[in-house]
Each structure stands twice: as structure tokens, then as C-alpha cells.
């Protein structure tokens, strides 16, 4: 079995050979990745069901199709993404060629989480196949998917250029002592450790973290439509999504209309015995289950929907808690589970203030026709009158502010793993023009230079 340093050395040698540079190579790898997913859809769905009891529908939508979408986007646009970008010049450089070249960084590390173990590992990998070699480290918590990825990637992708490293905290820490040219980390737990390890080698990092995503509901809102979208985005994957609406802020009247609507929608979606529904996921491990039950036990709010649980099955029913105060246990940390606290705040302004008192979240949701919320808030992304779906659009950069930095999806992923190299090709002519800049310096030379290097002079030409 290869040691970590042997793996890295192999990848670095492959990178330095230049094999990942030609477009053909990148296309082949991306196409092979697509084949891998198509050929093994059933195994992927089964592994996800084993890890998270993920319903087939959710697995296909959020782990298979979204990855296929990104692959289509990458294959459809790779040629144009790879093209140099020509830029505008000033008069002094008019005869020169100035452009930005997208170049590979080298060997990159992608560390995936357990909640969407395929999507959140493979979508960054698509960006990295923008001509880097990549080491991918799936989460050991989603063990079945981890094993499947370990088995499949070497079968479909170049073994010299892409390696999968498995293991727990110890293996990850060891991996981080090596030098990478970029580290892409999704999760929360060890972000600071990752950054500190990166600082040792001045390695740039993309951090996709989480946060408490608020959901504000104000004004005249169709409670049933809102409830549909809220239930779908909250309880998808049993609430274990970094962009799930974490908590709701609304007035008492809205809360009174919303709770019965939520109850009804839950029954429409999952039937009267939710534990028996094949469409509801489970909590990933007993440890996470215990954490969530701890929050539920400590809350001073009132459970009005759900609350049922089953430790052996790692099951927690979709639960709605009202009369939650700002300092409640459910407001301390990102919930990451199927518990929805509702805080009653009469005015939209006060709600915005409360949300602002917390760390900037990865997503901000509003059900309203009130437009001021966007301007008065800050978050990774923003979506009004729905949840989660903004991240299915590859045109939007997906990433946080305070809840991480850097972003990806679509061409943003390609850019995250590329170096934008400024290139200027000058000619030998016009050396007389250059004389303006050589010593001995004079005021007259300076005036001429001001004119030739100013952006205004371009428009005259």
C-alpha cells in the first residue's frame, strides 16, 4: 500500500510531465467521470441509503443529477473557459499583446463532508480537473460512500493524476502537513486547523462552511405555498444541508397560520407515520443523533409538531418548535437536523437586526415581497420565496462570507483551481517611446508619460 508521501510524489511527477494540460486529456477525464456516475448510479444510491437512509429521489436529485449537470456545464464550456482573456490596454501598450492566461496550480487537496458525500466531493473535483492533479479525501463518516469512491475513482480516472485517500482525523492531519497548491475544504469542524496547515506553505484555500441560515416570513404570504417550500428545503436530507433554512422569524399571526400549514404539508409529503415513509432520511451517526436530541431536550420552546424519535433507527421526526427565544439552545449553533425553531418577532426590521447579530450565514431566505432584506443583510447567497434551489444554478457563485471564503460551481469552480497569469508580450519597436521612462527624469518626460499611460488616451485611439 502506498504511503501518503508516495501518492503525492506520484501525482506531482504526473503534473510536472504536463499530461493534464491538453484540453483532450481534461475532456477525457470529465467524460470518464460522467460514465462512472451513469454506470454506477444504483451503487451510489445504495451507498447513500446505507450511510444516511437517503431516499432514492433525494440521492438522484442532489447527488447524481446535480453532479451530471456540472459535468455537462464543464464539458460544454471547457474550451471557452480555457481561452485566454484579452484585456484593454493603454496607449503605451497599444501594440502589445495583453491577456490573462488560465493555468493549473499543481496538486490540490479536496476534503469532502458526509452530508452530500458525492456532490460535495465530485463537484469541486470537476473544477480541479481544470488541469490540476487532485487528491480527494472523502469523509470517513459516510463510510459506504467513502468505500465506493475509493473503489470507483481509480477505475475511471487517470491513476497517475487523481488519488483517493481515506481515513479519519489522524490521516487527514498527516495529509495536511504536505504541501498542496490549493486546499478545498467543505465542512465546519476543522476549518481553522486546515487554514493553519495551509499557512505553513502559503497555500490558498477555499472554505465552504455553514452557519445558521435564517428564513424570514413577512407580509402577505400564501402560507400553504410557503409551507411546501419551507418543508421541502428544511427536511430534505433530514435537515443535514449547509443551506437548509435553520430557523424561521415571523410575526405571531404568521406563525399561527404557518404551523397548521406545516403540519398538513408534512402529512402530504410523508404520510401520517413519517418514520415509515421511504422519503425521509436518517441522522448520519448516533453521535450526531445524540447532539440533536440534546438540543431538543434543552430547548425552552414548545414542540408543536413532531418530536418523536428512535435512537436505534437514528430517527428524529420533522419537528417544529415555537416560542423560541434568541438565547435558546436551538439558537446556539447550526442545527443541521430536522428541527425547525420559530422565533416570533413582530417587525421585519427587528428580525433583520436579530439575524445580523449572528454570524453571516451561508444562505439567507425570505418569504415576502419585501425587497429591503437583500440590501440590509449579508450572507453567502440569497434566495427569496424558496429554499436551496439557488445552488442548482452553475452561473451563481456558491460560497460563504464569514461562513467560509472562495466560491465554486460552473466556471467559478474552474477559476478556483486556476492561476490567472497576467501575460504581456511586447515588441521591439517603439523603443523611442520607451525613452520617456528612462532616466535622467524630467518634468516634460513625465507629462508625456501621464498621457500615454492614462486610460483616457485609449478612447482617443
Amino acid at each position: 500500500m502506498e504511503s501518503q508521501s508516495q501518492v503525492l510524489e506520484r501525482l506531482r511527477t504526473a503534473f510536472e510531465s504536463g499530461v493534464t494540460i491538453p484540453e483532450k486529456f481534461r475532456r477525457t477525464q470529465l467524460t470518464n467521470l460522467m460514465t462512472m456516475i451513469k454506470d454506477n448510479e444504483e451503487q451510489i444510491v445504495n451507498a447513500l441509503h446505507k450511510d444516511l437512509t437517503k431516499p432514492k429521489f433525494e440521492a438522484i436529485l442532489s447527488e447524481v443529477e446535480i453532479v451530471m449537470n456540472e459535468l455537462h456545464c464543464a464539458l460544454g464550456n471547457l474550451t471557452s473557459w480555457m481561452q485566454p482573456e484579452y484585456v484593454s490596454k493603454n496607449l503605451a501598450t497599444k501594440l502589445d499583446e495583453c491577456f490573462v492566461r488560465k493555468e493549473p496550480l499543481g496538486v490540490v487537496l479536496i476534503i469532502g463532508p458526509w452530508n452530500y458525500p458525492m456532490q460535495l466531493l465530485i463537484v469541486p473535483l470537476i473544477g480541479a480537473i481544470a488541469a490540476n492533479c487532485a487528491v480527494i479525501k472523502p469523509s470517513e463518516v459516510s463510510a459506504a460512500t467513502d468505500n465506493l469512491i475509493m473503489e470507483l475513482i481509480p477505475k475511471y480516472l487517470s491513476k497517475d493524476c487523481y488519488a483517493v485517500v481515506s481515513g479519519g482525523a489522524k490521516e487527514t492531519q498527516a495529509l495536511l502537513t504536505n504541501r498542496f497548491d490549493h486546499i478545498f475544504y467543505t465542512s465546519q469542524a476543522v476549518a481553522r486547523v486546515v487554514l493553519q496547515a495551509a499557512a505553513v506553505h502559503l497555500t490558498p484555500v477555499t472554505l465552504e462552511l455553514g452557519g445558521k441560515c435564517p428564513c424570514l416570513i413577512y407580509g402577505r404570504v400564501n402560507a400553504t405555498a410557503a409551507a411546501h417550500r419551507l418543508v421541502w428545503s428544511k427536511f430534505f436530507n433530514a435537515g443535514q444541508s449547509c443551506v437548509a433554512p435553520d430557523y424561521v422569524l415571523c410575526s405571531k399571526a404568521t406563525c399561527d397560520a404557518l404551523v397548521p400549514a406545516l403540519r398538513q404539508v408534512l402529512e402530504d409529503f410523508y404520510g401520517s407515520d413519517i418514520q415509515k415513509s421511504p422519503d425521509m432520511s436518517r441522522i448520519v451517526t448516533p453521535k450526531h443523533w445524540t447532539r440533536l436530541m440534546g438540543l431538543l431536550n434543552r430547548t425552552k420552546g414548545k414542540v408543536v409538531v413532531g418530536g418523536e424519535h428512535d435512537e436505534k433507527d437514528r430517527y428524529i421526526a420533522p419537528t417544529v418548535v415555537v416560542d423560541v427565544a434568541e438565547d435558546d439552545a436551538l439558537m446556539e449553533e447550526e442545527i443541521f437536523g430536522p428541527i425547525l425553531p420559530i422565533l416570533t418577532i413582530e417587525s421585519l426590521e427587528e428580525s433583520i437586526k436579530l439575524a445580523k447579530r449572528k454570524e453571516k450565514p451561508l444562505a439567507f431566505y425570505v418569504f415576502s415581497d419585501e425587497s429591503s432584506v437583500l440590501e440590509n443583510s449579508s450572507s453567502g447567497g440569497f434566495c427569496s420565496n424558496d429554499g436551496i434551489v439557488h445552488m442548482t444554478l452553475p452561473g451563481l457563485p456558491f460560497g460563504g462570507v464569514n461562513s467560509g471564503f472562495g466560491h465554486y460551481h460552473g466556471h467559478w469552480g474552474f477559476e478556483a483551481f486556476s492561476h490567472r497569469r497576467a501575460v504581456m508580450l511586447r515588441g521591439w519597436a517603439l523603443e523611442r517611446l520607451n525613452a520617456l521612462r528612462y532616466p535622467p527624469y524630467s518634468d516634460e518626460k513625465l507629462s508625456w508619460l501621464r498621457w500615454t499611460t492614462s486610460p483616457k488616451s485609449c478612447s482617443i485611439m
Binding site: 431516499p55 456545464c73 504581456m424 527624469y441 518634468d443 492614462s454
Partner: protein, 489 residues
């Protein structure tokens, strides 16, 4: 509360009032900054003369000219850059509004350097102001007089709560680094860069690091050596070699080494006279510590030109070293001084090998009339920026991103790149609570049929004109009707 904590707290409070949000406010601040440069040229030049022995013309050319151009560029384009940027939608979000909303990050820390103190401290500040942030400005304490002038003048022209200047040395910088910022922008060397990044890690703060490295300069024996050497001499000895993108060392075939030395010697004489020490256009080493550092590099190399020095004046003559070996002292770190080593190599292959042995530099220069040589050099190496047939000037093109890669830095700036780097590009989707029937296909209870529809709708992007949009909308409505019939009724 320490002085540093207070400055940061005041800046955050000022940011939270929201006054820097409006584009008009930001443009006003930039206009005020512009006035500083047109009104206080004398004070700026006097301080730079004391710190780096630059003439007034030299100071304008290398420091403030670029800034004035940058501010004009920002004033002209800020409204467009700060506006929402529309993006592609998928079929399901076709009737929704989808865009990227550039927003300020919050409080940015700008740590400047001493070699072009105005250029490298104010240029990031321009980006920070334009993006709507508050910014704490920490000029380098090494350029003592300029740092004082910044401390005195900036509060007179721009909002002193939003953009405080905090001066000081290492302890003051460390105290600043304990505070929480939303971005830290540092220009300096790699060693301190690592310290900055580690400090930033505690608060998960993103950083931009503009560092340095040994920028190689390859001279093809077939090029016009006279012109090449003139451009290299200018690039090397401006500011006495204390430029992060100065050509650090030359690689060329042994057959042209003597010619290169002759040509550089000629240009030194034309630019700086027979006695550079008396020439007003030739600078000085910033301080004694750096003087000693640079002089120590001469120990094991042959001096072909120059070598004269005067410690009391921090003067080192424009110097060329010949037949330098890769193990020589002068090749172990970035020189950042007026020593130009020439390393003879057998050709392009050896040059590329040697370059790739070192860390990725901030700039890479190649002089050749042959495009193939240029392309090979470009394709087989990596660097922050790449410039063929000249030195330094790629810095002046605002549309080119300026930044390093690997050890030479993280992130880039100049022009719109500064604006984007110091903004948060927030992805926004604005929907309505209508067309719920179409959403139905994603809700449980899940069926294979619904999955088929969802696959099609949610995950196909659409990029059509108005007519196409209307046609698709009609189709969508029809489909929605069908879906509603099948699943809800």
C-alpha cells in the same frame, strides 16, 4: 482597550452605519483621495526623498501616477462594477430573477510595504473603498517619513472613522492581527506572509498576499541585446532594485555574457551618469539592515560592474555579477537590491530547469525575437505574471490581474480585480410564490415519473432571448397544467 482595538472598533461601527454602501459616497471618497495627490505632491515627494532618495519626478512616476490613473478608472467604472450581474437560469427559474450582487465584506486591514509605500498601500485601499468596506491602513514603519505623512494627510481627505491610519512597528501590527477583520491585504515578504496567514486563520479571515520571489530574466542570444539590456537596466535599478517585480537575475548563454555586461554598463552610465552616487535619479537602500543584507550577498561572486558602496549613505552602486553559480549566496533569496547576477546556461532547456527548481516567482521575463522561445518559456514555467521583451510594465495595465502564485502570493488585484477581490459576490435568486404546480414534482411522496420531470426541469440551463423565453414560458405553463392534473387532481 488598546489604540489598535479602538481604531478597529470605530471602523466597524462606522461601517455598520451603512454610509459606505452608496456608490455616490464611495466615489466621493475616491475623489477626495484624488485631491490629496494633486494638492500634496510636495509633501509626499519630500518624505519619499528622505526615505528612499527619490526625486520629485521619480516619486510621481513610480508612486502617484499609477494611483491617479487607478482612481480615475474606478470613478469611471464603479457604478457598473457595483451593479447586479445577471447570470444564466435553468428552466425552472426562468421566470425568476437571478443575479450576482457585489457587496462589501466589512472591515479590511491593509498592511503596506516600504518600497513603493504610496503605490502598494493606497492601491489596495482604493479597492477597499470602492467595494464599500471600511479599511484600517497600516503603513510600513520602515519608511518612517512617508508613514508619518500618510498618518497626517489621509484623515484630512477621507473619512477618518471608516479609514483610520494606524502606525507602528511589530507589536502594533501583532495587536492589529489579534482583531477580527473580514479580509487582510498584505504586501511584503513570504516569511511574514505566513505569519499573517496564520493569524488570519484564527478568525477564518480570507487574505490577499502580495509577496515576492526571484523573478528570472532569460535573454535569448538572438535578440537585440542592446534594447533588451536597456529595458532590463531600467527595470533592475529603478528604486535601487527594491521592486517586487524587478528582474532578480539573468540567465543567458556564455557567448553573450560579455556583451550583456557591456550593454548594461553603457545604460547605467546613460541613466545614472559616471557617478551614480551624485545622480539625483538613483536611489538608496532603505536602511542599514537591508544594506548589510545585500552587501553580504556579494561575498562569493565576481563583480563585473560597480560594487562601490557607502554604508553611512546606504549607497550601493548599480552592480553586475558574472559567472554566478546557483549555489552562490546571491541566489539563495530575493535580492531586493541593485545587484544583477548573470548565470550562464547552455540554452532554454537549462534555463527552464533552473527556474522550475526554485519557488514560483512574482514575475518572469524573457527576451527573444522568437515566439516559439517565448511560448515554451511561458508554457513550461509558472509565475504570478509573465512579460516578454520588457520589464515591469505589465504592472501598469489595470486590466491585467496583478498577483502571485505559490510562494509569491495569494489573490490578485488592480482595477476591477481589486474591486472583486475585496467584495463578496453574493449569489441571489428572487422567486415568487406562484407556479407552485411546477414545484410539485420535487415534493414527496416521490415517484419515478416526478423524478424524470425534475431531472429535466431543475437541471437544464437556458440562455435564450426574449422570444425564446416567451415560447418556453408558454411551454412551461402547459407542462405545469399537465403536472397539476396528473399529481394534484
Amino acid at each position: 482597550m488598546s489604540r489598535e482595538q479602538q481604531a478597529v472598533a470605530r471602523a466597524r461601527k462606522a461601517f455598520e452605519t451603512g454610509r459606505s454602501k452608496s456608490v455616490e459616497y464611495r466615489i466621493n471618497q475616491l475623489k477626495n483621495l484624488q485631491r490629496l495627490f494633486s494638492e500634496k505632491q510636495k509633501e509626499i515627494a519630500a518624505a519619499i526623498k528622505k526615505d528612499l532618495n527619490k526625486t520629485e519626478v521619480g516619486a510621481q512616476f513610480y508612486e502617484t501616477l499609477g494611483l491617479e490613473g487607478e482612481i480615475s478608472l474606478f470613478i469611471k467604472n464603479l457604478k457598473e462594477w457595483a451593479a447586479p450581474r445577471h447570470v444564466k437560469k435553468n428552466l425552472l427559474t426562468m421566470s425568476d430573477t437571478v443575479y450576482i450582487h457585489p457587496e462589501p465584506l466589512g472591515v479590511v486591514l491593509v498592511i503596506g510595504a516600504w518600497n513603493y509605500p504610496w503605490a502598494v498601500t493606497i492601491r489596495p485601499l482604493i479597492g477597499a473603498i470602492a467595494a464599500g468596506n471600511a479599511a484600517v491602513v497600516k503603513p510600513s514603519e520602515v519608511c518612517v517619513h512617508t508613514s508619518k505623512v500618510m498618518e497626517d494627510l489621509l484623515p484630512i481627505y477621507i473619512d477618518k472613522e471608516l479609514y483610520p491610519v494606524v502606525t507602528g512597528g511589530v507589536p502594533e501590527t501583532q495587536e492589529l492581527l489579534r482583531q477580527k477583520f473580514d479580509h487582510i491585504f498584505y504586501t511584503g515578504n513570504s516569511t511574514v506572509g505566513k505569519v499573517i496567514m496564520e493569524a488570519a486563520a484564527k478568525h477564518l479571515t480570507p487574505v490577499t498576499l502580495e509577496l515576492g520571489g526571484k523573478s528570472p530574466c532569460y535573454i535569448d542570444k538572438n535578440c537585440d541585446i542592446s534594447i533588451a539590456c536597456r529595458r532590463i537596466t531600467w527595470g533592475k535599478y529603478s528604486n535601487c532594485g527594491q521592486t517586487c517585480i524587478a528582474p532578480d537575475y539573468i540567465l543567458c548563454e556564455p557567448s553573450i555574457q560579455n556583451r550583456v555586461i557591456e550593454e548594461v554598463k553603457k545604460c547605467i552610465k546613460v541613466f545614472y551618469t559616471d557617478n551614480p552616487k551624485m545622480c539625483p535619479d538613483y536611489g538608496r537602500i532603505i536602511n542599514q539592515r537591508h544594506f548589510k543584507r545585500v552587501m553580504a550577498m556579494l561575498e562569493d561572486s565576481n563583480i563585473a560592474v560597480g560594487g562601490e558602496n557607502d554604508e553611512s549613505d546606504c549607497y550601493i552602486a548599480p552592480t553586475v555579477l558574472r559567472d554566478v553559480k546557483p549555489e552562490a549566496k546571491v541566489m539563495q533569496e530575493e535580492i531586493f537590491g541593485p545587484l544583477l547576477p548573470i548565470l550562464p546556461v547552455s540554452g532554454l532547456d537549462e534555463a527552464i530547469k533552473l527556474i522550475n527548481k526554485g519557488e514560483k516567482p512574482l514575475a518572469l521575463y524573457v527576451f527573444s525575437p522568437d515566439n516559439k522561445v517565448i511560448e515554451r518559456m511561458r508554457d513550461e514555467t509558472s509565475s504570478g505574471g509573465f512579460l516578454a521583451n520588457d520589464c515591469l510594465v505589465h504592472y501598469s495595465v489595470s486590466a491585467l490581474p496583478f498577483g502571485g502564485v505559490g510562494n509569491s502570493g495569494i489573490g490578485c488585484y488592480h482595477g476591477k480585480f481589486s474591486f472583486d477581490r475585496l467584495s463578496h459576490l453574493r449569489g441571489c435568486l428572487v422567486k415568487k410564490l406562484k407556479m407552485e404546480g411546477v414545484n410539485d414534482m420535487r415534493y414527496p411522496p416521490h415517484t419515478l415519473k416526478k423524478l424524470g420531470w425534475a431531472r429535466f426541469f431543475i437541471l437544464n440551463t437556458v440562455d435564450v432571448g426574449w422570444v425564446g423565453r416567451m415560447a418556453l414560458l408558454a411551454a412551461l405553463v402547459m407542462v405545469a397544467a399537465v403536472v397539476i392534473q396528473k399529481y394534484l387532481l
